[in-house]
Amino acid sequence: MDPALAVEIVRLRKVFGSFAAVDGLDLRIAKGEIYGLLGPNGAGKTTLIRILCGLMAPTSGEVLVWGHRMPWERDALIRITGYMAQKFSLYEDLSVKENLEFYGRLYGMPFKALKGRVSELLSFLSLEDFSDRLAGRLSGGMKQRLALGVALIHRPKFLILDEPTAGVDPPIRRAFWDYLRGLNKESVTILITTHYMDEAENCDRIALMNRGKIIAEGTPRELKRGVFGGDVVEITVRGSGDPALALPFCRVIEKGAEGCSGAASSLKVIVQDAPREMPAMVNALERAGFKVVSVSPTYVNLEDVFVRVVEGVRKGA
């Protein structure tokens, strides 16, 4: 296995009865990246995560995490991995501090080091004022932070988070991502699953998962380009004539009302690489006599990407 890889999965299958939850999946995650696994409920994300953690045995295929073969070398994985399950899975009848201390003790942390680490985490996650509150009495956002704290107690190199933001309000989700980016800066590799497409923009790379398979993979930008064949740029100009004719190197996907004299007209085009090609586009338009009002890359949301990819897979099948 390539030492730069955190995870390498080859031809993984997990079958429950006649249902294949994971169906011949390949996946590579590099050390140091934030990797997002996206897909609707039932796509097989949680099964994949559980196999990755050695919590479930695969039906067939190979799973290597940090070079350790799962599920046989689970003990080695546990030492370097912090895990946050989809459902809140800490003791509701123990306080915030007691939960953290319990897990610290299970990692064999000596008393003094444990005390230090717990207060460090409490302040990092802004939970100092709630350290004696029972976990069952915390709000959703606080529960989520506590679960992250428990996952971090032993300073893991690899953080595996299974839908950590499910059912949490958007502002709290954003705050949670601030924590994750902070950890990633300290070179913690993060694997996160979500079904919120907007969150995936935060990831270095993402994989779209559907029906037990990865149907598209890459950086958020690559994925969008992959679907539309490039970046989408929206152009508004003033002038008469068809601005599309001035841009022979662009593929036009949408045309607004054709400009009469002086009126604005707009169009959407696709280019290979928007930042690189935009100046040339402006030049070409101006040379053709148009007054350029605006040229800007459009925000394509990953939801559109996902829908298009899934449709493409269906048509192809």
């Binding site: 009848d93 003790r105 000596p110």
Partner: protein, 371 residues
């Protein structure tokens, strides 16, 4: 493990004890059940024994009949409920539930006895309750026996006299005879039911998934929980023994230390059994049902209510593989007969094997997986 870190099993013990103290239902079960069971038992079994009602039909009205009736009314286990005029009326009263039995002294009872001829008296019994019926039979035998002794003495005739000599010691009260059974009852039911949810509650609530993502071994999980529940249920053992000895005045003829030792072994066995149930159950409901279901054969073949030797040979065989039977046997030996454990090698050995088996099967079957 780094230097200076306490063993992980202690972390589990500590966590379980905190959780136990925060769960009012468990606390109530630990403290209240043994107290209530012991007190109910003491009130029900400790006072003077009840009496079986009898109806008398005296068709003789002679002097011998009066003597017999007097003897009956003096019998401690029988109370005369009513007098009836005829056998039919007596039967009606017995089947109607006024009394459990009726005694019919036939016409010519006194003259026949006077002339030395054999006589018969009729006893009508409601057999619906075997225990009551056998009490009536025993009492009537005793009364007849006593009456015959008196009669033989009067006519200077020959008689055979029975003298009972108890090997259990001079005097064993009802309470003392049943205390081993009740102690076994509490030490079987409470620990097993209590700990039976220990693992499956974690699975049901999802905490198990997080727990096994830490470097905890199945031995840490099982023995951590066992030690915590042992500490808690040790209280049950002390309560039951304390109530028996200090409140009901049950005399322990053997050594208290032996009593504690054998009870501890049984307590650990019960906890191990409950843990096994927990490992095998999918959820808390299933575990509770399993704990109660297993309790039934334990109870039926423990020999605490009816001697299993008298039930059937099969019952005796089943009893031999029933830990509760061996425990009650050992408790009786220590409490009533004053034996030491060295005189109770067989039940002690059986209980040690039971404990060892339960302690090792549960961790062997626990899988650190989510399925």
């Amino acid at each position: 493990m780094p230097e200076g870190a306490p063993p992980k099993v202690l972390a589990v013990v500590r966590k379980e004890l905190i959780q136990l103290t925060r769960d009012p239902r468990s606390l109530l079960m630990i403290a209240l059940i043994p107290l209530v069971v012991m007190l109910l038992f003491g009130v029900g079994y400790g006072g003077s024994s009840g009496k079986v009602g009898i109806i008398i039909v005296d068709m003789d009205r002679g002097q011998m009949a009066s003597a017999l009736i007097e003897a009956i009314s003096e019998t401690p286990t029988i109370s005369v409920k009513a007098y009836a005029g005829s056998v039919e009326e007596a039967r009606r009263l017995v089947s109607g539930g006024t009394a459990a039995s009726a005694l019919v002294i036939p016409e010519g009872f006194t003259p026949s006895l006077m002339s030395g001829s054999p006589v018969q008296i009729l006893v009508v019994i409601d057999e619906a309750s075997p225990t009551l019926a056998s009490t009536v039979k025993d009492s009537m035998l005793a009364v007849t026996y006593y009456f015959q002794q008196e009669y033989a003495r009067q006519i200077h005739g020959p008689s055979v006299e029975l003298i009972y000599n108890s090997v259990y010691g001079p005097k064993v009260t009802n309470l003392e005879a049943f205390t081993p059974f009740v102690v076994a009852l509490v030490l079987q039911l409470v620990p097993t039911t209590l700990i039976s949810i220990a693992i499956c509650r974690e699975k049901e609530k999802g905490t198990f998934e997080q727990l096994i993502m830490s470097p905890v071994s199945r031995f840490d999980i099982i023995f951590g929980k066992l030690v915590a529940y042992f500490t808690a249920t040790l209280v049950d053992m002390l309560i039951t023994l304390f109530v028996a000895i200090y409140i009901f005045g049950v005399v322990i003829r053997g050594s208290i230390l032996d009593l504690m030792l054998i009870s501890t072994v049984y307590l650990l066995g019960s906890l191990g059994l409950g843990m096994l149930i927990s490992v095998l159950s999918r959820n808390q409901l299933q575990a509770n049902q399993a704990a109660i279901f297993i309790f039934i054969p334990f109870l039926l073949f423990c020999g605490g209510l009816a001697p299993v030797e008298l039930l059937s040979p099969q019952a005796a065989t089943i009893a031999n593989i029933n830990p509760m039977y061996h425990f009650i046997y050992a408790l009786r030996g220590i409490m009533v007969k004053g034996y030491g454990l060295t005189q109770l090698l067989q039940p002690t050995g059986a209980l040690l094997v039971y404990m060892g088996a339960m302690m090792s099967i549960a961790p062997a079957l626990l899988k650190l997986r989510v399925e």
